[in-house]
């Protein structure tokens, strides 16, 4: 197994706005991570399946449509069921402040809101990933 940090970048839900997902995927690659971009409109099951298949260290979810409180807790639940508790999950997108504590309570490590810099996100992942 390589020492590279393996990251799944996923867009759950129906939203097609992938500028952020693609920018962060590229920033992760430039930082030397192994990046798997799942493509658009992934169900929670598909995201978790990808994390399992790809032996991911990190799952980065991009949600801009407002569906995060339906999709993200379900993804976290499925991750636990699959024993992926050690995978670092981060979210980027349009996430209102009041949803952040709820998302963290179900196991999301960090939420990056509009304006977050790719450097900060990369640094966060390096610091918090639990490399297997």
């Amino acid at each position: 197994m390589s020492d590279k940090i393996r990251v799944i970048v996923a867009k759950p839900g129906l939203d097609g706005h992938d500028r952020g997902a693609k920018v962060i995927a590229r920033a992760f690659r430039d930082a030397g991570f192994e990046v798997i971009y799942t493509g658009l409109r992934q169900t929670p099951e598909q995201v978790v399946h990808a994390a399992l298949q790809e032996d991911a260290d990190v799952v980065g979810l991009s949600v801009l449509s407002g569906a995060h409180m339906t999709l993200c807790p379900r993804i976290m639940e499925l991750m636990k069921k699959e024993g992926l508790d050690d995978v670092l999950v981060v979210i980027g997108g349009i996430i209102p402040d009041q949803d952040i504590p709820k998302l963290k309570a179900c196991g999301v490590a960090e939420i990056f809101q509009p304006g977050a810099s790719t450097e900060d996100i990369v640094a966060y992942v390096r610091q918090h990933v639990r490399k297997k």
């Binding site: 129906l14 097609g16 706005h17 920018v23 658009l40 409109r41 407002g66 569906a67 409180m69 450097e119």
Partner: protein
């Protein structure tokens, strides 16, 4: 602190280098008649009407939609009462993707990004109390545009309004979905066929309707430069025309109903140059490439929306200022209609309060600043004319590359426009992180502990209620009749040469749902898979 001014590169938002001073030397080749012309005269660089805003102000058209059809109907009435002059519907993602509200993929999305429309019953509620012969309506829908337009036409029918009196626009621009926004359903070939069907149908049946709004807005939001926005949008226009001509349509029948939609980003002069160049290039495309005879075919009419991607979640009140400057660019550029974004749109859909400020911004520009007094006030500026000429030159260069690739559908399949945009988006992000570009409140002039602002929250109960209404429609309609209209639709889709609009209208009249209609079309057309870029 910001870097010292002298250390910064002087470039536009799109990264184009700008000189310290522009003089007559910079526009020596400029020929007034050939390059500009008076407003209302070819090549329309200075605007499409001789009197411009003295004759009529631009249409103030705020894009709006959230929750249920009843919620959005209430917002429409409110905006019209506040002096808005046209409607613009935002649909929620399940509608845009051809799913009913009770589809598993719709979970969590109902009423979130726009209004939930599942069947004609919702469309009737959406336009309740709004006389469709008196207002113009724009509908942002692409893959299922034929279906939502059909719903609107049937609402008009029920109101007793002649289709020939209807004014409005369907976005109906699938190419920019493949390029940038990704709200596609079917593959390019059947998608383009449906669009050509709307051109053909609209010309005869709904002659005042804009059957397409060829859109650069989303291309820019995905991170393109101003030039890429312009070039890809106009080339999309060329592609639609090519497909329509191959079907045997006469250019002068449908070209006058093609409309455009551009972004207004922060760089005032770059944006003005973009709009001015757009009109001129389109005139040349229509007259020199397509040899149109009807002067109206060569006139570019466009809507503008201020750049959502330029707004910041940090210190959101600053967005009012950004929007005002962007709206100014659109008006100085001669737009026909305008949406101004609300200050809270990086956080959620706008509150009524934020939406009102956005509308007031347009009213202040229209009525207080004097900007609307004369046409194309920036003409003759050495700087703006130079930028306009350069914008045009860059655009022709992109056209050559796209022609060589075999047109836009081929270029999309090769991932060309997608890659160009992704590269530009990444460069822009890096420039911000290197502080070569300053975004107030984000990478400079930052405030700690900002107080939160009130945002619009869509209650989860919206979904349950919407699904309840949908089930009631399915229970109370004549399901045998619905089935027969859907079967006829599927057979016609398989036959491929028939115009699909009359068949879709029949399904809609029978209260077939949007998801049911799309399922039939999906079963024949298949679905689009994006190429890896």
């Amino acid at each position: 602190m910001a870097k010292d001014v002298k250390d910064r590169a002087f470039t536009t938002v799109s990264g184009v280098p700008i000189e310290q001073l522009y003089t007559p030397e910079h526009i020596r080749e400029l020929d007034y008649e050939k390059d500009l012309g008076d407003p209302g005269k070819p090549p329309y660089t200075r605007g499409i009407y001789p009197t411009m805003y003295r004759g009529r102000l631009w249409t103030m058209r705020q894009f709006s939609g959230f929750g249920s059809a009843a919620d959005t109907n209430e917002r429409f009435h409110y905006l019209l009462n506040q002096g808005q002059t046209g409607l613009s519907v935002a649909f929620h993602l399940p509608t845009l993707m051809g799913y009913d509200s009770d589809h598993p993929m719709s979970e969590g999305e109902v009423g979130k990004c726009g209004v939930a429309i599942d069947s004609l019953a919702d469309m009737e509620t959406l336009f309740k109390g709004l006389p469709l012969d008196k207002i113009s309506t724009s509908m942002t829908t692409n893959a299922p545009a034929t279906i939502l337009w059909s719903m609107y036409l049937v609402v008009a029918e029920k109101q007793g309004v002649d289709w020939k009196k209807l004014r409005g626009t369907i976005q109906n621009d699938i190419l920019k979905e493949y390029i940038a926004e990704n709200t596609y359903i079917f593959p390019p070939k059947p998608s383009m066929k449906l669009i050509v069907d709307t051109f053909e149908f609209g010309t005869v049946q709904v002659p005042q309707w804009n059957t397409i709004s060829i859109s650069g807005y989303h291309i820019r939001e995905a991170g393109s430069t101003a030039l890429q926005e312009l070039a890809f949008t106009l080339y999309d226009g060329i592609e639609y025309i090519e497909w329509a001509l191959r079907k045997g349509l006469n250019i002068d029948d449908f070209a006058p109903r093609l409309s455009f939609f551009f972004n207004a980003h922060n760089d005032l002069f770059e944006e003005v140059a973009k709009y001015r160049a757009a009109r001129k290039i389109w005139y040349k495309v229509m007259t020199e490439r397509f040899h149109c005879r009807n002067p109206k075919s060569a006139v570019m009419r466009f809507h503008t929306q201020t750049a959502g991607c330029s707004l910041t979640a940090q210190q959101p009140y600053n967005n009012i200022v950004r929007v005002a400057v962007q709206a100014l660019a659109a008006v100085l550029g001669g737009t026909q209609s305008l949406h101004t974004n609300s200050l809270d749109e990086t956080l959620a859909l706008p509150t009524e309060h934020a939406a009102r400020i956005a509308l007031r911004t347009q009213q202040i520009i229209a009525h207080e600043t004097g900007i609307a007094n004369t046409a194309d006030p920036l003409a003759g500026s050495y700087f703006v004319e130079r930028l306009t000429l350069d914008m045009e030159k860059g655009c022709w260069e992109y056209f050559e590359r796209l022609d060589a690739m075999g047109g836009m559908v081929a270029a999309i399949e090769q991932g060309f426009p997608q890659r160009e945009i992704q590269d530009a988006a990444y460069e822009y992000q890096k420039a911000i992180e290197r502080k070569e570009k300053i975004i107030v409140g984000v990478n400079d002039f930052v405030m700690e502990n900002e107080p939160p602002i009130d945002v619009l929250l869509i209650d989860e109960s919206v979904a349950g209620e919407q699904i309840g209404r949908l089930r009631k429609v399915r229970e109370t309609r004549d399901n045998g009749h619905v089935r027969s209209t859907l079967n006829a639709l599927r057979e016609a889709a398989a036959a491929s040469s028939l115009n699909m609009m009359p068949l879709i209208l029949d399904c809609v009249r029978a209260y077939a749902t949007l998801g049911e209609i799309c399922d039939e079309l999906r079963s024949v057309y298949g679905v689009y898979e994006e190429p890896t870029v």
